[in-house]
Symmetry: C3
Subunit: 642 residues, 3 copies
């Protein structure tokens, strides 16, 4: 695995560049990402391309022995470009055009901006496509960041209408499958259909789902245009995009099919603070991040582009964008780096080399402080590089458990939560976390993945599960767990004939006759476990495997297939995971709070996410090759596989 950093030569005096490159190499870094926000320097005025500075930077970094990831600058169109076609900006859901002055101020559907992007990407690819130091391209930057997937511009409305016509053929077909008769919402022509915002009450969920699919397709095609140009002009170079954490606004699996390598930007402390973690979790893991945040995304993005992946941006210290921005516990940056290694990353790139003292992210740490001195993270990067070199070549271990995740499922549950605490990504994360608490290794995969290679398959919730998916599950011979709301919707957001779980009923003979959402405190208890947030009425001939004291069927089992008809609490999740693992022949290791394991073919890694020392003796792994038997906070230990 290679280490690197994000570097902005345009931020610094040119006389610093050579020394920076030298210090990177000395720190154990061999990669450097450049260029992705530099459009105003590459093209200061319309048509006047200034390559000189970038030529010198790329030559110098390459000559220093660094491999370059070159970013296309399309996330930051300059002011002269926006002024030349003011309607290229996205329009937000309130109907307000978004204004210049930060980044991502473009509409994915604007044909004029698309042409400008093709032009600048072609120019960059022609200039640097064959440069020996350029080994990878990054398209744009963090698609969707700052709520930028959905646009309600005229350009988007026009493109949406064309997309609908392509999908549905006739307006009558659209009216029929959306059920537009419901409130006289029937259209007579595609030209009558608008984006679904600012309606008096909620718009038709089928309308929203179509708009989300359309918007996701727009991101994908925007990206594909760049990839096509890069492949044509830069043969032999990989391309990637840097995805974000806990972000489901477009279909990463779909976009991932168009790129060579999936990468993501890992900010565990910011994510802990900003997302739905409990106050207790935010307190316990303040300076570490929840122990499953990084792993979840590693395992997710490994499944997005055929297996190749990396961390494009790694948090090196406090960030600037969360409500509160603490510093990581000493050791965490090294831990996060080694954990990425253990999960199979090709690279980890720290964001950023040196903290820039100006503009929006001046309070965001880097490997160097603004005064050019090494920050804490520099030492940890060096230490991580040392350990990685010591470990040598890495082979993946055999897969254990597949967790099926689907972006469309997240949209469906977001459009129609039915109870405000039903969050699809939180449910998925809860299942993931339960598997990891038992020490299991997980692949997060799309519904169309090859599931036959796994010992167990978990489907936390897949509302639009297709017939084909049901058949592929049926063909498996391992335990399969299907979570609530699965099979509850057709492809166009209707309740299926015969009710949920639709075609999945062939696996577990249940019919969900009714669902209810529950406010906090309104759950039901079983014997040492419970359900909360969501429960379903189940009509079935099978016995309930888990039934609450009130008689609610929480889990139904039919041979190797289970259906979970509720939101399980952590205790029920633990019981389920242990049973499934036992049936799958997988060995569980009940881990102490905050400890996590991960295996490669040659090693077992342990990561201490807690803020206190943990004795690994009960794991029965002996003395580690690297690290100590008693793991300090933020400590890592590595044993050879026995």
């Amino acid at each position: 695995m290679k280490l690197g950093s994000c570097y902005y030569p345009e931020h610094w005096p040119e006389n610093l560049w050579a020394r920076d490159a030298e210090r990177m190499r000395a720190m154990g870094l061999s990669l450097v990402r450049v260029g992705e926000f530099a459009w105003s320097r590459i093209e200061p005025e319309a048509g006047r391309l200034d390559w000189d500075w970038l030529d010198r930077a790329i030559d110098l970094l390459g000559d220093a022995g660094l491999e370059i990831i070159l970013g296309t600058p399309t996330a930051t169109p300059p002011k002269w470009l926006v002024d030349s076609m003011p309607d290229m900006v996205a329009v937000d859901a309130e109907g307000r055009p978004r204004r210049f002055g930060s980044r991502r101020h473009y509409c994915f559907s604007h044909r004029g901006y698309r042409a400008e992007c093709r032009r600048i990407v072609t120019a960059m690819a022609e200039r640097y496509g064959d440069h020996p130091a350029v080994t990878m391209w990054q398209t744009d930057n963090e698609y969707g960041c700052h709520d930028s997937v959905l646009s309600f511009s005229d350009a988007a409305a026009a493109a949406f209408r064309a997309w609908l016509e392509a999908r549905y053929g006739t307006i009558d077909a659209l009216n029929a499958v959306w059920g537009n008769v419901f409130w006289s919402m029937e259209y007579r022509a595609f030209a009558q259909v608008d984006p679904p915002h600012l309606t008096v009450t909620e718009a038709n969920p089928a309308h929203w789902l179509a708009y989300r699919r359309f918007a996701s397709d727009e991101v994908r095609s925007f990206n594909a245009e760049q990839v096509e140009i890069l492949r044509a002009h830069s043969p032999g170079r990989a391309n990637t995009h840097n995805f974000m954490g806990f972000f489901t606004e477009f279909d990463h699996h779909a976009l991932g099919r168009d790129i060579d390598i999936a990468s993501w930007d890992s900010y565990p402390l910011g994510f802990l603070e900003q997302f739905w973690f409990s106050e207790d979790q935010k307190r316990a893991f303040l300076r570490q991040g929840h122990p499953d945040i990084a792993g979840f995304h590693h395992d997710l993005y490994r499944g997005c582009a055929g297996g190749r992946w990396g961390v494009m941006e790694q948090q090196p210290g406090p960030v600037n964008w969360a409500r509160f921005n603490p510093a990581p516990l000493p050791g965490m940056v090294a831990l996060w780096t080694l954990e990425a290694f253990a999960h199979g990353a090709e690279f980890v790139n720290y964001f950023r080399w040196r903290q820039a003292p100006f503009a929006q992210e001046q309070m965001h740490a880097g490997l160097l402080r603004p005064d050019d001195t090494e920050a804490e993270a520099a030492h940890e990067a060096r230490e991580a590089a040392r350990v990685i070199a010591q470990l040598g070549t890495r082979q993946p271990a055999a897969a254990q458990v597949a967790l099926v995740f689907d972006y469309e499922a997240a949209w469906v549950c977001g459009i129609q939560p039915q109870g405000e605490s039903f969050r699809h990504d939180e449910l998925t994360f809860a299942f993931y976390s339960a598997l990891r608490r038992q020490g299991l290794d997980i692949d997060i995969v799309p519904p169309d993945a090859d599931l036959a290679v796994y010992q167990a398959v978990i489907v936390p919730s897949l509302p639009t599960a297709s017939e084909a998916f049901a058949q592929r599950l049926a063909a498996l011979d391992c335990p399969v767990m299907i979570g609530p709301r699965s099979g509850s919707k057709t492809a166009d957001f209707a309740i299926p004939e015969g009710l949920a779980p639709g075609s999945l009923r062939t696996l577990v003979p249940v019919k969900i006759t009714r669902a209810e959402s529950l406010r906090p405190g309104a759950g039901e208890a079983g014997d040492g476990w419970g359900i909360e947030r969501w429960r379903e009425d189940v009509e079935t001939a099978c016995d309930g495997e888990f039934v609450t004291d009130n008689g609610s069927v929480a889990v139904v089992r039919n041979g190797r297939f289970r259906y979970c008809a509720a939101w399980p609490d952590n205790r029920l999740l633990d019981l389920l995971v242990k049973r499934i693992a036992a049936e799958a022949g997988l060995e569980c290791t009940r881990l102490p709070e905050g400890l996590r394991l991960r295996r490669t073919a040659g090693h077992v890694f342990a990561f201490n996410y807690s803020d206190h020392a943990i004795d690994t003796a009960p794991l029965d792994l002996g003395d580690p090759d690297i690290g100590a038997r008693t793991l300090p906070p933020a400590g890592v230990a590595i044993w050879p596989t026995r």
Copy 2:
């Protein structure tokens, strides 16, 4: 009392209609509401009216023995109509035109849309006005739903100016009574007056009150246009409108004077979740709704249209629109139905016959599930029909207590709460609930109702109480209780000369010299009771009947008149109700938590809203004719009047 359901033939294949009608009859239903969202099917294009399908549906349902409530479809203008006059949509308080894609996207003040409504209503009335199966008309649907009473469109602004001129005559008169001199807000012409939104700080409360009155009048006249057409073309048929719960944005008493029957849409679980009930109440009555939600509205709407009323939509299971959507306790649907009977409803219509699997309300339950099987509510509807048949003809019991409620009072308190916890409807509900906890029967009536028929009169809060109202109270010979802020405002939102309670001072010789609003926890205690949220300084020669330990006068009594100068807590309310009842010669029954009583001329009903069994023996009513002495959760017991 008749039972029925809301049915949408346009949602279903025509070959289901006959079987549906037959099943309705078999279930004990004799009413069916149709048509209220079907404009795009009745008139698929401008001017092309397609009656065929509706002819067949109405004939078929009528032939099956069902009485039809036919709805005018004006809540859902089709897209072609909106496109033909885009300025017909309402504009929200933020200044954004509301967009097509759900319902209620029209402005009550748009003259072009008014003409279209008259046209379609006339066409429907001409076609079906004489149809023998059509026995009632519903105008539009839930006026005001989704915050749709107020519009800030150009059409509304123009109509508002005309309304102001009609009310005030001269602009100087308006300036004078509004006190526009205050911040140089004086106008020189009616044409200068705008709606009161988006001002830098709050607009003049008199300006807001005028705008609310205007908007209420617009709803009323919009409805009256339809009623006039229906009466002309459909002689002998009753008309109604389906009002909502906890909704005070227009004057239902005024509109009620124009219609034959008031009806309302009863969703006790959704209302419990969405309104100001405490967390404890939301927990205790999760699957039942607060025990006074349904009764409050029954007693309110009975007073809205001269006494005739019904439940147009009855919740049959989980709904889709609250933050959380639990299922009712088994038995609740029957309980709610029988409670409506006990309160005097002419009909209860379940919403809806069969859960449609598509569009916005796909997660809203019906009597049938989407798979055409009976949902739980079907059995309860059948049981309710059986009991109602067994009980036979029903006569109302003599009235006991009048609770005076006024929509304008709600506007005044909403425009100027003075303390954010002063909610007029919550205070009204608190008085209502206290009366019901003592087993009393209540009529909720407007200030101009005939109060002489009651044993006691409660006026929770009536800021703009008129001289005439004071005189009518003075003429009563029963106990009268007047709540805080009553008489505190003139008709144009000023403090009356001589201060509050204005003309009510003739009843209780008090002067309110100052009022203060109190944050939670800042109340005062008396001996086993307390006040909270609001207290007034009282200047009076009378002794305080209830005085706090701090010396604050909570209640002043002057013979049969009382003034309550604070927001009373529940314990004080209980003490007050018991004293008033004793003075009125009304017998109180202190009911166990969650139990409620209601009397007709022939029967006493008890309803168990709690989640545990309640022994009715202490009520000393003996063994019930129907139901058991020990009432299970959601149980109903009925005794003959002794």
Copy 3:
């Protein structure tokens, strides 16, 4: 010190005026403010000036022996004026033009409105400038109230561009110091720069800081235009503006340099409810206000216009604009009045003479009730007038502690809080309150004040501290305390070379290598004290004076200079204040909760802000001249200086 009231002759029948004036005098009042909202009466139509009524009012009030503070009416432009140039209104951050119907609906940058203001102010000044009764002018009213400093109108954008050009000279200079290269935000011309609102994510903080400075300058120049006219036409009369509480949107020190007297509007109960005080504080001081609210602003505004200041509006009872509006404890109005006296006010003006029964502030108390009877406050004003007369001439005591406050610092922390609980004014208030808990007297002063006259200097937080400021601190020979984030930014919002605290490092040799913000509950503890919200990593050769149990350096001392590298809790603040006072030779008096002291040259005042009696015997001051040794709630005691 004079007492007075705000009076609106235009609100009342002319036959009340004489009696009002007489009652004011009898109550001990000698000042009256008039005119500041009366534009629509002074000029009912464009160009038609109606002075008659105002002539009569001013003559009558003057003849009664009252001095008149005459307000310019520019906070309330009439409707005819707005209609004559509709683009004069401000545009809010959402892009919506603000609408007529309340007050402050103008944009400070609109040249046409500026001309209208000069015209009306000239006309008033010409008419009344020499009137013997007019002794003071107030410009406009509460600049910035209702979020009215920032406007995003075209007029503001144009003025901003000119302001930028004047400050930066070339667009390249602007790009360089803002670091616009960061996200390709570089401009090619000043004409390309927009206000920083509605960007996709945060705009450049340097962009925001420039916009805030520009907007502050616009307020200042708007005011200066009026002052220039008033000085020209009304020689010998003082001018003032009435500032607000806890309001930092423009630079009051800068504006204060242009006026003769600073005044402020004191609403202790409203401020307690609306600002960041804890629930415990809101409960404890419900009817008194936090004991430091009034003092803080007295001491702040005394430093704003060269030492002359007054209270232009004093809360006399419940107000109408807070979430909850309780009444003051009996005695508080007198206490607040005498406290202003003790802090050196030239006048206290009660808002308002008589409560107007109409329009927006009808629920805001006055000295008289709407029924013309005296409210509680009238008696207290009379009592305060009596005590003030008894005390006679007042001389200030020698200054003790300087607290340095800077408006720009508040903008910097507001633009980039970095942790959502870092509020600059709250931190300043915490230091102030700690000093007051020890009985010390404080001047709040700008960074360019003469600090050499103080025994101790506290700089709670000054991010853009200049080199010159550091040198002036270095020249002092008293203890100096410098708080967190001081020196952390350049003048154009970048991190300084060599890191924070920049040039202040010459005083305390520390380098802040990293800062972190902490969520509630994530602080660190020392021995009986703690830090919270914010902590910094400190690189220093000095020993830490206060170090947490975790080893975090909270305070570093270098001789007489200290740097506090964290948000100190109240216990640490108390320890620091006591040490600093001891080093400064200042005597501390640890005061009971809720008691506050203030010295003049001749007297010591004690104010009991608690809701229970406090025995002052432990203060060892003997028996007071005025008031009792045991101070009742809201009591004041006054001792001669020994």
